[in-house]
Point group: C3
Chain length 283, copies 3
């Protein structure tokens, strides 16, 4: 956890951050994001491109969706982070995703795999396996998707999760250990693991599941934060915390999912490090 100085550690015998240090570092990383404006290439599904770009802009990152072959690879080399989301994987996008993952690996660009609705749908399931073998920096999905990706279950019914988050811990740990990725399982409590440590982030609001792209856009924010520090367990916790703290602030003043979405973008924009630190619920 490079952002932490040694004397801040509550676990002097290990290099692992304490829960309080995760909260503190989440605020630090938000400040760092605003200083650097990371450029995030999002090759994502047709439903959520607009919301994803607006989330990145609101929090302080720069979005780009360079998603065609021969352009996706060169762009992944200059991007700060890359998101590959399998929601509507047309042929050109599939080719572009493999190109981007390979170029990102070559250039050292962190990249996030979001295996939307893998399981019984053949094209995306094969593509997810191919991309997982390229060793993503982070894997994000709901419980059903993580279980399906690990080969332990039969997948969900589209983008819903029909499994509880805790039921996916075994699968998440297995993916993390075999691929080297940090794995984030979204749900009422987000569970994040690097294959050894398991961190639970419990901010957020259910309306985030009633705005399409509420989960998908988090994948892009994970990519943005991954560019800020080499400790990707930490950056994933920080991104998740900042994102879900903004969601709960927005929900508190909204009437339904319609008014929630613009309020969420406002709060991502207005969010400051102290608010993240004081409201973070991390265990």
């Amino acid at each position: 956890m490079s952002i932490r100085t040694p004397q801040q550690s509550a676990h002097p015998s290990t290099d692992e951050p304490s829960v309080g240090e995760f909260a503190s570092a989440s605020g630090d990383l938000l400040d760092r994001l605003r200083e650097r404006t990371p450029l995030v290439q999002s090759i994502t599904n047709a439903v959520v491109t607009n919301f994803t770009a607006n989330v990145l802009l609101a929090i302080g990152a720069a979005p780009a969706m360079t998603d065609i072959p021969t352009e996706a690879g060169p762009f992944a080399r200059i991007a700060s982070g890359v998101l590959l989301n399998l929601g509507t994987p047309q042929a050109e996008q599939r080719e572009a995703m493999v190109e981007a993952a390979s170029a990102a690996n070559d250039a050292g660009t962190p990249w996030v795999l979001d295996p939307v609705a893998v399981g019984f749908l053949p094209v995306r399931t094969a593509l997810a396996a191919e991309l997982l073998a390229l060793r993503p920096t982070i894997v994000r999905g709901n419980a059903s998707e993580i279980i399906a990706l690990a080969g332990l279950g039969a997948g969900g019914r589209g983008v819903d999760s029909t499994d509880a988050v805790d039921s996916a811990i075994e699968a998440a740990t297995a993916i993390a250990r075999t691929s080297g990725a940090v794995v984030a399982v979204s749900g009422p409590t987000d569970v994040i693991t690097d294959g050894e440590r398991i961190v639970r982030c419990s901010n957020g609001h259910a309306w985030l599941t009633l705005v399409t792209g509420g989960g998908c856009a988090l994948g892009a924010v994970l990519a943005a934060f991954a560019s800020l520090d080499d400790d990707r367990l930490l950056t994933t916790v920080a991104a998740t915390t900042a994102y879900t703290v903004a969601a709960q602030l927005a929900a508190a003043e909204s009437r339904g999912p319609g008014s929630f979405a613009p309020a969420f973008l406002d709060h991502l924009h207005l969010l400051d490090a102290d608010t993240v630190r004081s409201l973070a619920v991390i265990a």
Copy 2:
């Protein structure tokens, strides 16, 4: 009309619901939708995917946009309902649409055809004819599109309707009788027919035409409601009524089409059966 009990009928000599029964059943079906969370596969145009998904989530359905060949068919078998919208019909989507319609027919999944801008544009017009021959459960369009689809006119100029709704009744009736579909013609008053009975739904607000996807998203809601009861004249009237009641509630507190859109999503989410029943204007 399976939702109606015999003693509620005002037309004891027939099996046709009365106008008051349509309003009452519209509320019942909204409750049923919230109980079942129907999964709606929307293969729709690139402009409205996001809004369509948010409309489905707001009213209580689950959206998915599985729109590539070899995935669209298997998904249509497990979906509660399917929407095929011809707004931006790229080659992969066209193949996926035919695959989804065939699989939906095979599995008994109700499906909606929205023949956006058919008439003089060659690709979508040929595709609409092909899909119509596969006998959609419901056809939804504006007057120009319905007239063009019936081969009675020359089509509109894009997504506008240049024809009055009543001018499309002959075309709508012809389509219904030859294809077996319930046909819904959108306009200030929506006209819905199964080829025999004609029902007019007069809720709504003009701002729904100033939010792109205001008509297209209704197609997805028609698919959601079609999964709830075998009487598709009834489910189409109910979906249209719930949708347009939410629109007029939203418009009453909005300043323009920008603030109307999130308010509409809020009201779809907050809408209850009694409000639908008391505000429904059905003739």
Copy 3:
């Protein structure tokens, strides 16, 4: 400047409008737009299609996104104006763009080229050169894109502009002189030139850059206004002024980019000619 009557001219020795006349004519053209409801075909990137269509609807134009081969050309013949935006140029869209540009030229339909992120990305850069050779009516981009298009620089890093607007004046003038297009460079002050005269429009707000499509949708509005008068320097100034006046009115009552977006659509809808005239900052 056909909208101006001779006695209104402050430059009687030339046919060039004065700054005050630009402001006055901007209001006139907004009124004319509402009378005519120009039909704007937008072949644009996947991120901004929804916002672009909503902007056109809000200001009083009619959007259509007919973006596949064999349909794009016929549609460009009947459209009032065409936007070609290179943000996510899939193969079918690329073919459709060339088809639309050729048909637009043949039919006399004005068209706008937005060379998003041209420079080091190979596909769009080659396509931009091909389209520029077809002599667009208007070219719109940020400083980096305009410099790259003129072959004078190395391009930006995606959709950001890393160059100041004034640094692009030489490039903009060169493009205008060689292609015959009016060139609009977006920034805190928009610079617009026909290769001879340079006009600066200074309305707007920074939040327009934090809503994805804030620049791209302006391209569609430029196409709408271009259909209203043959003086495309004037129509470009008028479109830019109306658009950015609405933005600053919206920003004044918003809390962040999330609430700004619907407020912006409301103000585009509510905007009247006198407000445009009184708030215009043109030099």
